[in-house]
Symmetry: C2
């Protein structure tokens, strides 16, 4: 065994939900596994997305050799534009993952300079001292891999996100054999996904959703709207197949749904018969029972297509009494109120709403491994060291306990958090230090906005760009707007500020007047509309980007 | 049948979660069933509680004759202080319900003027044209009743909150017989709790929790902390019984836990052997394995005893490595992040944390009826008209569908929302109009604050009292406070304002300096502490109560 130290340093995702990112270092070579984003907590008002702080990598700039991706979910690739703006290194990922990355980089004008290298399961590739073997796994998105990384002192396996689906819809089976072989040969360390460690038993196969979809298609007598995560190609495939069988045309509504489906179509992950797809503008030309609309917005995002359709404010997606709306997704914690608000609006439109209410068969299944699957992989891999990844603190902790109780299958279970340096050498493994990590807040505009608005907004610049608080007082009894106020601080000189304030008030008033009664009842929508309109106005007239925090008061 | 019209007018709780309140009117007599509060949505920043708008009752002041309570949960009695400040009418409720009401009215200095009339299950009483028969039901709190209200044109039944628990811990059985008798005699209308209409099957009995508690008590080797809703006398009874069996002393920590237990002890709903209870200050005097602490704060409320103990900031409740902490409660939607934050802190203290993770046996069971129980009551009562109550719009809607499908058991199912006037006469029932309803926002100080701070803060006065935005910029990497800013608008003259602003900045700085590192990581706590300290300072120095909205920015 060569002398030297292997360092594994999570930069995000261990002790927090999202922004998964991990540095693997041997001497003067660093590779980065994934670079995700997280959606901010409510406390971080006015912030759109959060990415990992890359200071450690910046301080070791010349050592950073590549970034390797496990799959294409936002919490694994969403931080890439900010990463690549700093480090122009090669990106490795599977076909579908890279297609999503391409799209993202193009939006940021970074695609031309990027070096994207496609990898395939079971085809090893080399980066400096590391030989990497991608192993096919199953998950809610297609084309996912775990990574077996051969280092000078042994093999480490990073699972990425996975579940062990024995019957994946694309028939691309989980490569249990390779895990088993590595286990036989000896694995230094296993880094395993903790997301569902609180769930006992097995996660149901993606196919479990088919039964529910069959029931839904059978029962739907008018228009059928299906919303799922836009990256859920399995789900979109299932829905389009069934639409075809039930003689319904398919319309894709919402930017993320359209983009992700187009990518999947281009690459052959989706196969839609000729003539099945229609443009959203054609929905009205077909009888309701002949239409299936795939629509973005399962999380109640205020400006998503589904949220807008729910308050009858979408040009093409009109939801009417007797239509069926399916929310085929989980409720991400923190989004409950927003999602149920959309569901309530749909019920008010007298739609039949099918959502994950705990009933069986399920309208959604998780993409993450439950306890028995986690135990299975541990048994196959038999690592010397086991380290839980991807989870909040309690999840990492429970995963640690789960592994600790597996005598004979795990040498030692260790817990680290984002920023910890885990050091391996011939003597063993230990926490050897800590680096500065953290969250960088980015005010990217919002889902509905155009892409050139995506700009890094480091809050350190707050003192330069200031803050704007639009305050709307709404009379809860009548729904009337009783007053519109704007408080600003430090974003322009006093004379400019007072002029801008007056004009901003006009902008807000116009925004409010242009909103329907239903929108006005939904404060999430009102705030987002005000924020977008004001931002556009202020950026245009002052070239500044103050933090805009709309406040609504009921009176 | 006498000529005349019976009006049923929900003032809250139909189409929203909480603040249940319903007016029943015959000619010149109005009785009010329950008067609850709701906890505000995140959008209503700076508001503590929300109560129903009572304008309709105020406009018919001389007709309001009494308020009748079904049980003592906050969403049914929490609005009473504001109700009774307007209408000094008799309050009817069961023994335990009135004891909670007494406590609440005493805090508001309203007890001396209040007329509280104790009612008992199956003992009828009369208010004007109404004869009311309280029917014993089971729920998560003790001493609950449904109300059969005999009106001049027939009997209507209001279920209150209930589940059909065949084995309640207090052996006070659900009075199915009376429901059956009414069903035989004929019921005009059934108003039934919709909370759990989305759940299939039966809700497990409160006794199902015992198995889990036995396991917990058996395994706990050091201190045992149990948190549950303070009104869950069933749960507190179970815990104290098991503590006694396992030779652990019991300490009650947190104001709501202490108060509610004392009431239950006084009235005999709890029976604690002499010498079992110890004062929180004595916890340290006993060996860890001899102590069980009942502690407030299941919902992650930032200033609750459990939240403070979780960051090692409680005088008496010290949680150490190896201690066990049980959260025996459900997660109220919207509180996920706050609760998991507390759970994470507990894991960091290396406590064994037992929470509702979906595993069986359950550490918490719901107090509300699932679908089969709802169907059972409908079958027993066989109402001419069925109206779902207590639920968000989708729940009311699903309850309506459930009832509609019960041919032979329901004459007609109707859906109304808060503010709708439902009119009954000899010809039938119909929506006959709408009154103005809404939410009144109250800034009551917070759980941690003393009671004299409870003041109605109608937001109409915002223009008089102004707004204060304390803004703290925290460096996420170091945790340091980088800047402290205060923005104010319209709460004092310019010269006073600038002085107050400077002093407020000092107050904030002091608050921040006095906070532990763990508290500083928890923005919920930081914001609440700033709000409390600033409020105290501003009220004292200006006698004004501006709206205070702390903002934290990560930089």
């Amino acid at each position: 065994m060569p002398a030297g130290k292997l360092n594994v340093i999570p930069l995000g995702g261990l002790g927090e939900f999202g922004m998964n990112c991990m540095a693997i270092r041997w001497a003067d070579d660093i590779i980065v596994i994934d670079c995700g984003l997280m959606f901010p907590e409510a406390e971080l008002l006015g912030v759109d997305i959060v990415v990992p702080d890359l200071t450690y990598l910046i301080e070791n700039r010349d050592k950073v050799k590549a970034v390797v991706l496990t799959h294409g979910h936002e919490d694994h690739i969403g931080g890439l534009p900010w990463f690549l703006a700093e480090f122009n290194v090669p990106v490795y990922g599977t076909e579908f993952t890279l297609a999503l990355v391409e799209n993202k980089l193009e939006e940021h004008g970074l695609l031309d300079d990027a070096e994207l290298n496609e990898i395939k399961p079971a085809e090893r590739f080399r980066i400096g001292p590391f030989t990497i073997n991608p192993i096919r796994v199953t998950h809610s998105i297609v084309d996912c891999v775990s990574l077996a990384i051969h280092t000078p002192i042994g093999v480490i396996i990073h699972t990425g996100d996975f579940k062990v689906d024995p019957t994946p819809t694309d028939n691309q089976l989980f490569d249990l054999h390779t895990f088993a072989e590595y286990g036989k040969e000896g694995v230094l360390a296993l880094f395993q996904d903790s997301t569902n460690v609180e769930r006992s038993g097995y996660t149901p196969s993606e196919r479990a959703v088919r039964t529910k979809f069959e029931e839904v298609f059978h029962r739907a007598s008018k228009r059928l709207f299906i919303s799922c995560f836009s990256s859920s190609i399995h789900r979109i495939k299932l829905a389009t197949e069934m639409a075809f069988q039930h003689n319904r045309k398919v319309a894709l509504v919402g930017r993320s749904m359209t983009e992700s489906s187009e990518i999947a179509l281009d690459l052959g992950y989706l196969d839609i018969p000729d003539g099945l797809l229609i443009h959203p503008g054609q929905i009205k030309d077909f009888a309701p029972e002949r239409v299936c609309v795939m629509i973005s917005g399962t999380q109640g995002e205020p400006m998503s297509a589904l949220s807008r359709a729910a308050v009858d404010n979408h040009k093409h997606a009109k939801i009417e009494s007797g239509d069926t709306v399916v929310l085929s997704s989980r409720i991400i914690p923190g989004n409950e109120k927003a999602i149920y608000r959309v569901v309530d609006h749909l019920f008010r439109r007298e739609a039949n709403v099918v959502y994950d209410d705990g009933s069986w068969p399920p309208v959604h299944v998780s993409g993450h491994a439950s306890q028995e699957e986690l135990r299975l992989i541990i048994n196959l891999v038999k690592p010397k060291f086991f380290i839980p990844i991807h989870g909040e603190y309690r999840q990492l902790r429970r995963h640690l306990e789960l592994a600790k109780s597996m005598h004979g299958a795990v040498g030692q279970a260790m817990m680290i958090e984002s920023g910890d340096i885990l050091e391996f050498d011939e003597l063993g493994a230990r926490k050897s230090g800590k680096i500065a990590v953290g969250r960088v807040c980015i005010d990217s505009g919002s889902m509905g906005e155009v892409v050139e608005d995506l700009v890094i907004r480091d809050r350190r610049h707050l003192s330069e760009d200031g803050i704007v608080l639009p305050i709307v007082a709404i009379n809860k009894l009548t729904g009337d707007v009783e007053s519109v106020e704007i408080i600003t601080r430090g974003f322009a000189s006093a004379s400019i500020e007072s002029e801008i304030t007056a004009q901003s008030r006009d902008v807000m008033t116009k925004t409010l007047e242009g909103s329907s009664t239903e929108e006005m009842r939904d404060y999430g929508v009102v705030k987002e509309k005000i924020r977008q309109d004001l931002k556009r106005f202020i950026v245009k007239s002052t070239a500044r980007r103050p933090l805009i925090l709309p406040v609504i008061l009921e009176i």
